[in-house]
Symmetry: none
Subunit: 196 residues, 4 copies
């Protein structure tokens, strides 16, 4: 009876895990609920017991991965005073995370702008979950370190450059540890953002 007090059922997690790898490998629409259930080792009925809808799987998956990423980032923040150094640390942590989690990284690349995720959900992820990025940008601007461009434009640019960077390291996995490329990817980002 007293199964470990798992807040999320084993089966539910198994379903999310299977969905992640199948969505990445085959795409959202080419993945049937039946195949997710089979891969997860549960019955179709069980799947729909946990997720009323196929889209719910996608939305929950998207939120949970974005949240996991945000948590990882927030926990990594440690100020040293020099804002460029701080930014570099954060950027490298973000790349590290992506390289360490290839599946989730590919998921980002494919679905960050896809129509398969509800607009509301994507908006929620952007604003509330990635809110810490907004905060950092605001602080940088007030200190005159980050360029005085419209904040929304800066945020979008941030996101765009991050996706570009991890796409590059995805296509060239052997460069994941290369100092030159890692450093260059940050420099590109930072030069764009910083006040001249």
């Amino acid at each position: 009876m007293n199964n470990a007090p798992n807040s999320i059922t084993d089966k539910k997690q198994a379903i999310l895990d299977s969905a992640l790898s199948l969505f990445v490998e085959k795409g959202f629409n080419a993945t049937s609920t039946a195949s997710i259930a089979k891969t997860a080792g549960v019955a179709t009925g069980t799947l729909f017991h946990h997720f009323p809808t196929k889209n719910d799987i996608m939305n929950q998956l998207f939120l949970s991965i974005k949240q996991e990423f945000a948590n990882h980032m927030v926990n990594s923040i440690e100020r040293c005073g020099d804002i460029e150094t701080d930014a570099n640390n954060l950027w490298q942590k973000a790349i590290d995370w992506a390289i360490a989690q290839p599946l989730k990284q590919l998921f980002f690349l494919q679905y960050s702008m896809s129509a398969d995720i509800d607009t509301a959900v994507r908006k929620q992820a952007m604003t509330s979950i990635l809110g810490f990025v907004v905060d950092l940008i605001e602080q940088g601007k007030q200190q005159g370190i980050i360029a005085d461009f419209p904040s929304e434009l800066l945020l979008e640019n941030c996101h765009g450059q991050y996706l570009a960077a991890i796409r590059f390291f995805t296509d060239n996995p052997h460069l994941g540890d290369d100092k030159i490329h890692r450093n260059a990817s940050f420099k590109l980002f930072w030069h764009a953002m910083k006040a001249q």
Copy 2:
């Protein structure tokens, strides 16, 4: 009688046009081949006479739009001597094109990284069609004007920033003519690329 001397069948083009607007409006999978044919004013059989597969429509559409964009850009290149000015002109032309072609812009945003387009096709678009960007980058590097970062990384970053910019102007259409934002979007891009 006097049917225009169509080099590409009228019907084939009509199918591509319909597919573009439907894919953007409803998404690839929510668009049935039947609805494409109906919108194009042809029979389903005709659609499959020109495109063996629904995916072929998508791939050809992607290539033709990328090509159209590349042609537009290449024709817009005019040197004035100052490379930053040249770059700015190009960048603004690219944004103009996106704003003038909302459907194709939205198509880019949704499908540039989607699994609905064959990997080979996307690769082809990047390398052969957008080759002129690569050329520009190489020249800039040789003249010491563009930062000495790995070219592939620079290209990917370029692409990422462009997508971010048009995404911003899509979400905020009223800012499409705003000098401040247009200028800022170029500055972000340029600061990233240029040698410091």
Copy 3:
């Protein structure tokens, strides 16, 4: 409540039954999966839940009927000592079976050599299911009662003559009980097989 303890789902059997009569009446290709499902009183989805493919229906149907025939024959074998009498009994039992099961008989005639059944399946039916015929032929040869011809040739000839006989009785149903024709059909067969 008390659903019969069906070993093979009722629905699956209903599908096979409907397929049998439709395939015989209209031919394999003129029979749509939709019509099979409708006749069987199930949804199309149910049909494909049990048989992944329309061809699978055909193959399973073929095997099950051949098996049913083989079972009937094996159960009918009863030796009296005189081998010709035994053979006659078997032959008449086989004709009886065909006449009693007009649908299955017609199915044999139409599909025994059709390309609508996988080669592998037809081969399986010939060798493993109709193995008892092979056994009988071998015994007869060893006792010097059946002609010393290559066994494979004998088996094929057996099959061919049986099909010819039931085709004759199908085309002339009123002769099904006629002693002269029934006897002649056996004589033809037996004279071919027996050692002279």
Copy 4:
């Protein structure tokens, strides 16, 4: 203008040839008119100019091959007085023909009893074209050499044994020249037919 006075157009014959090999290789229904036209090197329109219907191709093909076979047989008849020898000669000629024309032989095996050929056409082939077999049987019966069984039954049995024989030699091509098997196949047939 004065193209060689070919009674049958080259193209029409090309269509029949292509149909023969495709029907044998893929089956009637799995063969599209488009593929027949392509293989024959003509346009679809041309195909339908010569054959109003796909079924017409099949029917004409069936008749022409049966006729060709009948012609070959009739031309081969040469009496020597001994009826068994005559029958043997004919039988071996028939087998020879089948072995020399593997495609047409396979066509016989697949379609001799198929529903893809109109009943009327099959009946016509059986009665008028194969009429010479009927004649031979009648003569043999009157001379007391062939068993006094109902003629229709004898004809059907003949046909059945012939199909069985060529199926055997199809499945075992290396035995096509083997005296033992060739002789045995005739013996089986002849023992069945002859008066005891």
